[in-house]
Amino acid sequence: MSEPPALPPPDPSQTPTGPAIGQDEWVARHGERRSRRAGLIGDAEDRLRRAPWWAWLVLFVAAFALLPVVSGDGYIRRVAFDTTIYMLLALGLNVVVGWGGLLDLGYVAFYGIGAYTYALLNSHQLGVHLPTLVTIPIVVVAGAVAGFLVGLPSRRLIGDYLAIVTLFFLQIFLTVATNGDQIAGRNITGGANGILNVDPLHLLGHSLVVEHQGVFAVGYLYISIALFAVVYTALHFVNHSRTGRAWRSLREDPLAAEAMGMPVNLLKLMAFSFGAAIAALTGTVFASLNASVFPLSFSFPLVITVYTMVILGGQGNLAGVTVGAVVISVLLELLRDAGDARILFYLVGLLVLAYAFGRSRKLVAMLAALIVFGFAAHAAADLIHHNWVNGPAANGLDSVLSHWVIIPTSLNTWIGPVSYITLICLVLALTLVHGWTRDILLVPTVYLGTFVWENVLLAQPDATRYIVLGVMLIGLMIVRPNGLLGERRMEII
């Protein structure tokens, strides 16, 4: 009988060089295999990649904090504030959808619950005026409890059923908020008119003013960006904790997670509560800034907006969803104004063309064809009737562009729908054909696209904004379901 040779005791001074326990070596050494650009750009890229997460956060927050110093424009400050609200909402949704993998379509109801709780505790509605430092914990706990209660069904429901139940919850919330002015004869939520004259945030006896001499004051921007920094940091640590890892394993495969002994139900409930608490916290800032709450602020379009942010940025990636929130928020703001939206459209169009064709001769040919096609179509339309190209918006464009795009003086009622539907059909057809057919088809499609954009879409910014969001959702799911910064999942087959 031979004894196995006794292993030498591990040397405590020697640090382990292999991958951490539970990590595949192939995955761990992924960075080494990555091809790297040479020269200064490569060095800079590597250095940027190695920068710690908090450096990015500090940089980002500092940029927001410096914004009011650079620009005294109240509008820009207001947009920055709205963006921080979106960023907070996206962070919260990321916990539920990105980490927990739970499709919660009632998410904004928690935002609404937070806003209404703040408003009820700080207005004449119930005659209660609590200090902010007392209100905020109450609101956060209320949100977490609501999230817990809505999450309870998630123990039994999966996927679609959960989506529907949470959607019902949102509808119930909206019904209660809209009809809450007659609960047992008492006016609680103010009904469709909402709650007005909500107190601003007040700390240590000072109220935080919204407007200072008619300009959006910086106080709320600082508060919300500080909240963002706190929430982001907390979530970063949660993500790297046991709970964070457990959530991600739950998202990837609930069954396997359960088989590994993870408390799946508890994890789901925690994801719901975390997300809901963050949303409720965001609601307090929203309600105190606007000094009012209305049911309509918490309806379904907002759900879609926040979902687009999370998916565009990359579900599960904190930095990603933040970037997604900033991009979508700025985009929606730009689409409000016809002039900005126009510039944005041509810029994005050129970029997409350049990206699609790369640095090839094709791009030049395509642009040339577009220009020629445009001028030809314009000239033809001009020949038929001068009013077809004499639209009012043409003066706002650069003179060259106004000779290229057809903008009629007035649009027949049927031209708008017909051109819009034709455009959709052409775009769909483009995804089916390949090769030179596609290149030829692309020219009239792009031209029709500019026509529709100028004449139909710009006329109705509200519908256009949501159409853009809807298209983004579909396109992202098909082309890039991981978003801009999302981690690529390993498919094990």
């Binding site: 679609d160 509808q171 979902y307 995804t431 879409l457 809807g470 298209v471 959702l473 579909i474």
Partner: protein, 307 residues
């Protein structure tokens, strides 16, 4: 008693609309296991197709087209239009995601729903569209009828309810008695095994979308004959149609019919006897309870999940 008759009539009409929508959900859910959020908006687009046909044909005042033909053409136009729309949605928004994680087509469906509703609003505005402006409601179909007690039941109501049931029976025959129906049932039971038996899955799925969307289109016209339609109605009605499907047991065709009628009656009686203000709240709460305690519905069977 008169109130009861009126409410029953309302519940029956509304319920048959819900049932037609629920059938579309159930069919698609059966073969794709996908909650087609866009279905409610297909229904809404269907009501607009009906409006378009009515407008093109000049309304009830046109002596060339008798009213019965007008109604038939409206329903047919909406059915064909919606079928095309449904196929396009399947082809471009769902098919690329067929092997993706289950959450992906769901989000894509949300995008389609949002896109359709806002596109209609972009093209035709947010205002309600009333079929009544074409003089339909002045015709004999609306004025004639018979009375139960003091309640007048116009012919159009009876025609609507009857045609909804005829459509359902046709669907029932289609699924139970034809080859295509057999293929649909097989796909719904086990897609992979069906593919191995030589069933063209893509064809079955496209066919399912054709049938489901056509039913939604018909429902859209029937709905808009009573209530003015608008670009934003699809969302809530689609939601109710889906719950009707869940009540009946998703995947089950008689279940969807029963669920639609139950939902219609529940809504009408709640609104009539109890509260209009809170009727949505009552219905949604009941439905949440349903999903929690009997997710397989009334006529559904619990599937065994194999790992």
């Amino acid at each position: 008693m008169d109130t009861f008759t009126q409410l029953t009539l309302d519940g029956l009409t509304q319920g048959s609309t819900y049932a037609l929508i629920a059938l579309g959900y159930t069919l698609v859910y059966g073969v794709l296991k996908l909650l087609n959020f866009a279905h409610g908006d297909v229904f809404m687009v269907g009501s607009f197709f009906g409006f378009g046909v009515l407008k093109v044909l000049g309304g009830a005042g046109n002596p060339m087209v008798p009213v019965w033909l007008l109604l038939t053409l409206m329903v047919l136009g909406a059915m064909v239009g919606c079928a095309v729309l449904g196929v396009a949605i399947e082809r471009f928004a769902y098919r690329p995601l067929r092997n993706a994680p289950r959450i992906a087509p769901l989000i894509s469906a949300l995008g389609v729903s949002f896109f359709l509703a806002n596109s209609m609003q972009l093209m035709f505005g947010a205002q309600p569209f009333d079929y009544g402006i074409f003089g339909l409601d002045g015709g004999s179909l609306y004025l004639d009828g018979f009375d139960i007690g003091n309640v007048h039941i116009p012919l159009i109501r009876i025609i609507t309810i009857l045609s909804a049931f005829v459509l359902m029976i046709l669907l029932w025959i289609l699924v139970k008695r034809t080859r295509t129906g057999k293929a649909m049932r097989a796909t719904s039971f086990d897609r992979e095994a069906a593919a191995m038996m030589g069933i063209d899955i893509d064809r079955v799925i496209v066919f399912t979308f054709v049938v489901g969307s056509a039913l939604a289109g018909a429902a859209g016209v029937m709905f808009a004959l009573r209530v003015p339609t608008a670009a934003s109605i699809g969302f809530v009605i689609g939601l109710k149609g889906f719950t009707a499907a869940v009540i009946g047991g998703i995947g089950s065709i008689p279940g969807a019919m029963a669920g639609g009628l139950i939902l219609g009656f529940a809504e009408a009686y709640t609104a009539g006897y109890w509260t209009t203000r809170w009727s949505d709240l009552v219905i949604f709460s009941v439905l949440i309870g349903f999903m929690l305690f009997r997710p397989t519905g009334l006529l559904g069977t619990a599937g065994i999940k194999k790992v």
